[in-house]
Symmetry: C2
Subunit: 310 residues, 2 copies
């Protein structure tokens, strides 16, 4: 055992890999465009070449791959991620193990980010930890008693599909009022556009080029409507967190992804609403904090999880 | 190690104990009124005498106590259950270990019921299992990968306080729209009374002596309003289960408590709503079933959990 592992973040646009030491340093990195145009063979060769590049002939113990879900982590099979259409049904673990002659672990990117943050970031030393990623959707990775919770078929901690409103709009997942429809970056932009059109509020925001970053800058510049948008999004996230905390009883909840970089503008309403709605005897101990590892969380977590399974 | 353990169900009315074999037979039973009037000393002596009675001088390995929550299972301390006022803050584990000279495990009654059902009942052989108890409240006990999920301070799987409606009524727990406000036996009776008064429906039901059993009998006798009450309660429970399944990814969900004895009248709407709202790729595998052990689930689970920890 060399103590070295490789973590890979497989995205719809780029494939990134890092050589990770036992203490959690990424000593070598590589990146290549994810060649969806070449089909699954091209994507898998891209992963293998990234891995080989960071290994540079050194001996490593295992490779971990974080990929978009849904996937089956037990079998290492990609199921049906929207942004990797050519990979649906591909037995990624088996194919990479054959190519690399190394043990390969596959899990979804949110789980890998949670493993990374719990190892070295916002959840360091925290045995009961939830990592929520706010992006296109709302993803979750959850560690209980220092173990990654996968559930019976790898779909635990799908926190974006916990409903906060039984009478809310239908989600593509089939449920109604899913947290993802209210608190993802995508949802925040969509709801803001709807309000711009429907309410014509006094604001510097315009439909064209609207993003969470643009809304954030406007809020920082004193735009009251933009501030209200953050307030509302944070409050809705806090409502979801109150339910998640009742199910999971985690001590630390980290918020990750671009939206979490808004800092107190997001965290203040999240924490206030959770303080109002959380259970007495629990909420006093729960900390809601920003993720600390940024884009490295997935690579570090994938390396860590793979290393723990050999 | 004798392989024998004692399981205790500490309730606000009765304290019950059973001597449990390694294969899960309850070979001796005892029961005594819970002497709340004598304070914590009286309650603890009642437990000890029940345990001694079923042991009858035999060697046993451990004692497990299921008690109403909230409690701290790590320290074995009763916190603040409504129906055991004299026990608030009592270090039950320490006090019983001193009295009995045996290892004692304390956990909440819903967790113990889940352990029992997973050992010998509705969750037998199921690694990822949720047991929901429908009674005064809605309690939950959850096993993931064959381990009881306790969370950082023993409050995991408080499924009754997962919200199904962010704008719903406030729950005594502090949250709004909690599942417990819609799907407990108590809530079902309360909502029925409200409708009887507010809507004056055509029904054989009357306010006086109303219970879930009375509503069930009326529904069986063809009372359309009573049938609708079950339909609504089941649907609301199904809505909560869709969220719980997204967080926990369990394969089997058992419904326990008196209300679950209504059979298809309750299970049909629960399953139908979950089939509508559950996540594709998960819901096809999830089974929602009745608990099988009745009042013995808690004693068996307490014995099992205690035995597993020595």
């Amino acid at each position: 055992m060399s103590g070295l592992t490789v973590g890979v973040d497989l995205g719809g646009t780029n494939t990134r890999a890092g050589l990770v030491t036992e203490s959690g340093e990424i000593t070598v990195r590589s990146r290549t465009p994810t060649r969806l145009d070449l089909g699954s063979d091209g994507v898998i060769e891209g992963i293998a070449s990234c891995v080989n590049e960071v290994m540079a002939g050194q001996e490593i113990d295992a490779v971990g791959i974080g990929a978009p879900g849904p996937l089956d982590p037990y079998e290492g099979v990609i199921i049906s991620p929207e942004n990797l259409p050519c990979m649906h049904g591909v037995r990624l673990m088996d194919r990479l193990e054959a190519l690399l002659s190394l043990p390969v672990t596959v899990d979804n990117d949110a789980n890998m980010a949670a493993c990374g943050e719990q190892w070295l970031g916002a959840g360091k030393g925290v045995a009961h930890f939830l990592c929520i990623t706010l992006g296109t959707g709302v993803g979750g990775g959850w560690i209980s008693n220092n173990l990654l919770m996968r559930g019976f078929n790898g779909n635990a901690a799908e926190v974006g599909h916990v409903s906060i409103d039984k009478d809310g709009p239908r989600c593509p997942c089939g449920n109604y009022g899913c947290l993802e429809l209210y608190a993802s970056a995508t949802a925040m932009v969509r709801r803001t556009k709807e309000r711009l059109v429907g309410e014509r509020p006094e604001t510097s925001l315009i439909l064209d080029g609207l993003s969470t970053e643009v809304i954030f800058q406007a809020a920082e510049a004193g735009d009251a409507f933009a501030q209200e948008v953050f307030e509302d999004t944070g409050a809705l996230l806090g409502i979801g967190i109150a339910s998640l905390a009742s199910a999971m009883n985690v001590e630390v909840i980290a918020l990750c992804g671009g939206l979490a970089r808004a800092g107190d503008r997001l965290f203040e309403p999240v924490r206030r609403v959770y303080a109002d709605r959380g259970t007495v005897g629990v909420k006093e101990y729960v900390r809601i904090v920003p993720g600390l590892l940024g884009d490295d969380a997935g690579i570090l977590g994938a390396a860590r999880l793979a290393g723990s399974q050999v």
